[in-house]
């Protein structure tokens, strides 16, 4: 591979200094005059019919300007999922409905001159609820006689199974080969049921929207969104406002992780502004984020594997039940991904079945969350693999290396299972998982620690465990990104992208990609991203798509500019383009070494002869989604008296193709690992018997702090994906998949107990320890 001068380096993230000095602006940092403060009233009941809303007293509170309820807003069924059109999620949501479906469902909005006036008015809205029987357990959702949660006009926009009359929100069913034959051929069966919980994204910036009119009477929405273009489309359709009248601006975003893909506040702020011709602000409180925004879908996964004595898997059956909560956002696609992102990894299994159902319950709404079903699936899969390797007397490292998908291979699952529909066939062109396993194992000290049950105190013992995973790079044949560039007289470039930097550093890596093509320093690329008026379309920050899809669009666009630069230089030098080369901001005549600086070329094009703007644009979609791969290793210390599990060391070795910016790759991995460890050990929604969340605050919902952080090692292995920009794949999600199963496998290594349920709290671990000592 030729030397690269911008890609593979780690220039500082371009917005980081202004973030560190507090100069960058997040949504709530924009000041708007004459602002209306909007706050929401939430249902205290899990399932109820609203028989009446009396706002008389609330409207008397000084400063209250408007109250929105189901009685005075447009009744347009839609999906808040923030996906491309047509959404694969059901159209089952209204701005406000006569029925409330979970504790935290929206009942009304108060807009007032101050937040305190708005909150005072909230308490004076009298809602007459007629309580309906609630449904909390996903196992009961489809039983005869269970309460129906949706069953009126709700519908799906795509051909998909959707039967709200029996609370079935989505169903996926694929079979490859002959399952019965496969299980008959097995020497033994491993069959286990795994349970994963709902968790909150906990982006530190709260969900925030501001809206106003510009001087031409168009609606401007500033939003903490991962999907500005989808937000524009959804606001337009829900409110009936022409799309051309709406501009969505994404400023700096304080983390998303999938939670800010949901478009559920933008229409409300926009509606207040539309009705009152005044700016409006909505900022959720932390409690509201917990109870009313979105969660990772809780799941029950049954995994059955038929295994021959040599460890080969003769049949695999995965059955997933996904708790979608009260609405169906991402219910089909997350469910699909449980199989689609997990099962191709062991591509030699010929007899395979994946069956999944997503069901409605009266609990908080599931949605997109980093990992997107793969995290749930890999929790089950990696434990099962650990068991099979142990039972057949093999080192799990060697076992995985033998059976995982390799370069030049494919899996029938790629074609059979896509995101909510049939998938796309693909052949793996880059996979360095074997090297990830070897290097990761060395870094954790596998040989010295595995199976040793090293005692570190009278009641503490250590163990190591591992997990592997793959993800994707964008959604093939669905995601689309585009870029526009122009050259300035001094040889600098403006790069306009729809791609949405939510803190990941995508503005920086896209600048690096453009700088690499044009052989200029990264500072010469001035990035403007995610403004629906100023930048071209991009589906947004999700599905691990930005580097691979948006990066490819930027690369194409920069190549177009490079062509124009060469053409101009060729005319200036009176040479053929083939006689020219690019070197550090110059075009060089290879015959005599004469060089033209980009500045000279740009001045020439702008002011002298055949004047034109050097500019270009490009779009990109992909017919494939090359998976990144990862091997992750946990060393845990288990307190045998209390069941407390401390992760002392965590290693990730990742094949993400060519890292565009290794430091940002490490950051994605390290952040994912810690978020994944919270998922593994501490984070959980606790509900009372009425479906009310009991712990909607950081005091009681425990995310990892600096003090909980283990020693962390991140290894980026050499890899190159030919179809990606400069060889890149993706890295935003994959590393969240391994922590839970790696820790579970490490716990088994330490104490011989299996944790099938997340989070692996001291109580659960202690119980298992008790059971095992009794047995």
């Amino acid at each position: 591979m030729k030397d690269m001068h911008q890609v593979g380096k780690s220039p500082d993230k371009i917005d980081s200094l202004a973030l560190a000095t507090g100069d960058e602006k997040f949504t709530d940092d924009f000041t708007l005059d004459d602002l209306l403060f909007a706050v929401l009233l939430y249902s205290p009941h899990a399932h109820a019919q609203i028989d009446g809303i009396d706002c008389t007293e609330a409207l008397k509170v000084p400063g209250v300007v408007d109250i929105l309820t189901h009685e005075n807003v447009p009744r347009v069924l839609h999906s808040t999922a923030g996906q491309g059109y047509p959404e694969p999620s059901p159209y089952d949501a209204l701005l406000f409905d006569k029925r409330v479906r979970f504790v935290g469902d929206r009942v009304a909005l108060v807009a007032a001159e101050s937040e305190s006036a708005a909150r005072e008015a909230l308490g004076k809205i009298k809602v007459e609820y007629r309580l309906l029987e609630p449904l909390f357990h996903m196992e009961e959702a489809m039983k005869e006689g269970s309460p129906r949660i949706h069953a009126d006009d709700e519908h799906v926009k795509i051909p998909a199974i959707y039967e709200p009359e029996r609370n079935l929100c989505a169903e996926v069913n694929i079979t490859l080969g002959d399952l019965d034959r496969g299980f008959n051929e097995a020497d033994f069966i491993e069959e286990h049921t795994y349970r994963t919980q709902a968790v909150s994204h906990c982006a530190i910036e709260l969900h925030t929207v501001k809206s106003c009119f510009d001087v031409r009477g168009r609606l401007v929405i500033i939003s903490s969104t991962q999907v500005p273009f989808h937000a524009r489309r959804i606001v337009s359709r829900v409110l009936g406002i022409p799309l051309w009248m709406i501009r969505v601006i994404k400023p700096r975003i304080g983390g998303g992780f999938g939670g800010k893909q949901e478009v559920f506040l933008e229409p409300l702020a926009a509606l207040v502004t539309w009705r009152h011709k005044r700016p409006c602000r909505i900022v959720l409180t932390r409690k509201e984020v917990f109870i009313s925004s979105r969660t990772r879908h809780a799941m029950r996964i049954r995994l059955k594997t038929g295994v021959r004595v040599d460890g080969s898997i003769s049949a695999l059956e995965m059955d997933g039940l996904l708790n979608s909560g009260a609405y169906g956002t991402h219910a089909l696609t997350v469910l699909s991904n449980v199989g689609a992102k997990v099962l191709p990894l062991f591509n030699k299994i010929e007899n395979l079945r994946f069956h999944g159902r997503s069901v409605y319950t009266n609990l908080p709404v599931g949605g997109a969350f980093r990992g997107y079903g793969a995290s749930q699936g890999y929790f089950a899969f990696n434990q099962q693999i650990d068991m099979i390797a142990r039972r057949t007397g093999q080192d799990v490292r060697e076992y995985i290396k033998k059976w995982h998908i390799k370069e030049g291979e494919t899996s029938a699952v790629f074609k059979a299972l896509g995101e909510g529909k049939e998938g796309v066939s693909q052949t793996i062109r880059s996979c360095r998982l074997g090297e990830c396993i070897d290097r990761g194992a060395d870094a954790i000290g596998w040989k010295e620690k595995r199976g040793k049950r090293l005692k570190t105190g009278i009641d503490s013992v250590r163990g190591v465990g591992m997990a592997v995973a793959m993800q994707g790079s964008g959604i093939p044949k669905i995601d689309m990104a585009s870029a526009y560039m122009k050259m300035n007289e001094d040889g600098s470039f403006n790069l306009f992208v729809g791609a949405t930097d939510i803190g990941t550093g995508s503005d920086t890596i896209l600048a690096q990609i453009a700088a690499e093509v044009l052989q200029v320093p990264v500072e010469s690329i001035i990035v403007l991203s995610s403004d629906t008026d100023l930048t071209p379309f991009d589906t947004g920050a999700y599905a691990s798509s930005t580097t691979y899809i948006s990066g490819a669009a930027v690369k194409k666009c920069a190549i177009e500019l490079r062509k124009q630069i060469f053409r101009t230089a060729a005319r200036m030098l009176d040479r053929d383009i083939e006689q020219l080369s690019l070197e550090c901001g110059k075009v060089v005549d290879t015959r005599n070494g004469k060089a033209l600086s980009f500045e000279e070329i740009a001045y020439h094009a702008t002011y002298f002869e055949d004047q034109f703007q050097i500019q270009g644009h490009a779009s990109h979609t992909s017919t494939q989604s090359p998976p990144p791969f990862i091997a992750q290793f946990a060393e845990v210390e288990l307190d045998l008296r209390t069941g407390r599990v401390a992760v002392v060391k965590f290693v990730s070795a990742v094949d993400c193709g060519q890292p565009i910016n290794p430091k940002l790759v490490e950051g994605q991995v390290e952040g994912s690992v810690l978020q994944g460890l919270g998922y593994a050990l501490t984070e959980d929604y606790a509900f009372d018997s009425n479906g009310k969340m009991l712990n909607p605050r950081f005091w009681d919902y425990k995310i990892f702090t600096a003090a909980d952080t283990p020693e962390m090692i991140t290894i980026i292995v050499d890899s190159h994906e030919d179809s990606g920009p400069f060889g890149a794949k993706s890295v935003g999600e994959i590393a969240i998949n391994g922590p839970a199963p790696a820790v579970a496998n490490a716990i088994f290594d330490a104490a011989g107990i299996r944790l099938y349920e997340l989070p692996m709290t001291p109580e659960r671990v202690w119980k298992k320890l008790e059971e095992s000592s009794e047995g």
Partner: protein, 153 residues
Amino acid sequence: MKGEFVVNGKRVRCTFSTDVTLLDLLRSEGFTEVKEGCREGQCGCCVVLLEGKLVNSCQVFAASAMGKEITTVKGLGNLHSPHPLQTAFVEAGAVQCGFCTPGMILAAYALLKENPDPNDEEIIQALDGNLCRCTGYVKIIQAVKRGARRMRS
């Protein structure tokens, strides 16, 4: 009520209601570098130095800060003349979304004022009141060490 305090060396006169928090007052006076993440004193995004001491501004009534000196992250340095800690956070890759960064930097600054050469354990203790969901804290801890080195030299 009316009052006056000094923010980053500048005198600020303001009118506010008795129950308003220092966080809300600072933000409404334009000090938007002070962030709101939970309003419960748990996330650390809103920390400021009040008379040199690190406090969660969401847990302090504005009235009690009158007549006092407050430092926000902008008081440490700016784009054109950043503080060594701010530069260290940038170079270490400790800034992802950046929402927790002003608070993190102030917490680190408060530590380094007392303890110019902290070990890992001391850094972790000092940052324990500041939540970050992006970085996994690895590069933040590295940044504090890098900043400390720079401030000592």
